[in-house]
Subunit: 248 residues, 2 copies
DNA sequence: GACGTACTGTGTATGGCGTTCATAGTTTTA
DNA sequence: TAAAACTATGAACGCCATACACAGTACGTC
């Protein structure tokens, strides 16, 4: 509001405000091409497969050329985390509860398709065009509920956090450390716990393990678990809305 | 239950099952000393300050000696993430709702004191003695509520996710990228958003920004926001318990 | 009491990484 | 046509995780 503090160059570029050069050779790249290449690499080989050299060779330039577009590798990762998000679902005509449910699930699905997102600080307040679009849509969906802006943003970030958590549990299956230990599902996880837990110091947990909480699941988690936690949250939101006297 | 599949050596060590050597020189270290040193480094200089060489010199050995205790740097990070958790609060005598609230807040506080925890995949199902102790205690606190084991674990992981999310928002303040851009609080964040958002494509969000959602806060978030989201969740849990016919 | 054995810590070396910097090359403006 | 502004390059630097062969040390055995 006060000073026009200059934003970091990468963020400007994420918003399509490329500093149009008036002289010199035309840039062979733009940020979108670079992030797209980096995302392909990450999808294929995980975040470890993303190196400046690798990305550069994929877009056909030398490694150091990328530094004309991003200030550092971290900048690139930030841009990737934003660009990987598709357009958010359209809230038009949906009751808030339905929209929040599909919105949250869609966010989770992004991570399931691109699990490396979890490793690039998925928590920092977003400044990219895509993630802010997601935020905007959920605010819209909460119109007419009587919640104020702050409450709506809180709801949004709580749901985002839930999507992250849930996706991460599913992704736990893919964690290299567990794979190496032969733990590729909740079943093996439970067996490993049983081997290690002392019932005296872990009474409730070892009882649950012996009771078979982790048994019988195909992978780590089924869809019911996701819906379970989600409805917990939405029930909470609904109560709040009722208190505010909004429509349900 | 079936096969005694061998667990990874680090995990054995985390549980104090050091493979007692019967010959050769006595080990000068144990895993606890190493993780403690690494945690001090991370607390001081962030996760980037943790290098094998740095940790090694802090405990007085050569860098490569650490590989007698951890299989890789990732192993070390895993051990750190477990060891950094203090003992969980005691649930004895507390109503479940009170305990869950303090439990969740305590988890958040761990991250606020050691924000680097966020960067070492904080989501993977825990296998360390400390984090499993936390899980055990919350299961205990939910005794008598009528929830089954699976539901209790779901509640626990949802709350953990919430603690992570909330802490991460606060920690957003410390993010180097934002610091560099001069964004050190919600106020500046809002100003930056205002500079970048087009009201046509971001109607609800830019209205909220103009309305001052991000104004007036000292830092990023105040405690009210934490309690707000938390009670959302606990309300949800309470409804579920009521449906199950447990005591409230 | 001496030898072999098993184990711990060291030193050296390697390959990969992100990043810096001076330079060459290219397009536009004057 | 010359200068200016900008882009991509190539070589080099420092840091890092890690592999491997070696030296030193304590226990178990004869």
């Amino acid at each position: 509001m006060d000073q026009e503090r200059p934003l970091p160059p990468v963020i400007e570029r994420m918003w399509g405000r490329e500093p149009a050069p008036r002289r010199g050779p035309r840039p062979r790249l733009d940020l979108a091409m670079i992030t797209a290449a980096a995302i392909e690499l990450a999808d294929a080989d995980g975040i470890g497969g993303v190196s400046m050299a690798g990305v550069a060779s994929r877009v056909g330039v030398a490694a150091t050329a990328l530094y004309r577009y991003v200030g550092s590798k971290e900048d690139l990762l930030t841009a990737m985390a934003d660009a990987v998000a598709p357009l958010p679902p359209d809230p038009a005509g949906l009751p808030w509860r339905d929209y929040l449910a599909t919105w949250t699930r869609a966010q989770r699905d992004i991570i399931l398709e691109h699990p490396w997102v979890l490793t690039i600080s998925p928590f920092v307040p977003p400044m990219g065009p895509r993630r802010l679009l997601w935020l905007d849509r959920v605010l819209t969906a909460l119109d007419g509920t009587g919640l104020d802006d702050g409450e709506r943003i809180n709801v949004a970030s709580t749901l985002t956090g839930y999507a992250l958590t849930d996706a991460a549990v599913v992704y736990g299956a893919g964690d290299p450390a567990y794979e190496k230990a032969g733990i590729s599902g909740a079943d093996e996880f439970g067996a490993a716990l049983a081997e290690v837990l002392d019932p005296a110091t872990y009474p409730a947990l070892s009882a649950a393990v012996r009771g078979g909480v982790f048994s019988g699941a195909e992978g780590w988690v089924n869809d019911d678990d996701f819906l379970f936690g989600l409805s917990l949250l939405l029930d909470g939101v609904e109560q709040l809305i009722a208190r505010r006297g909004g429509v349900s």
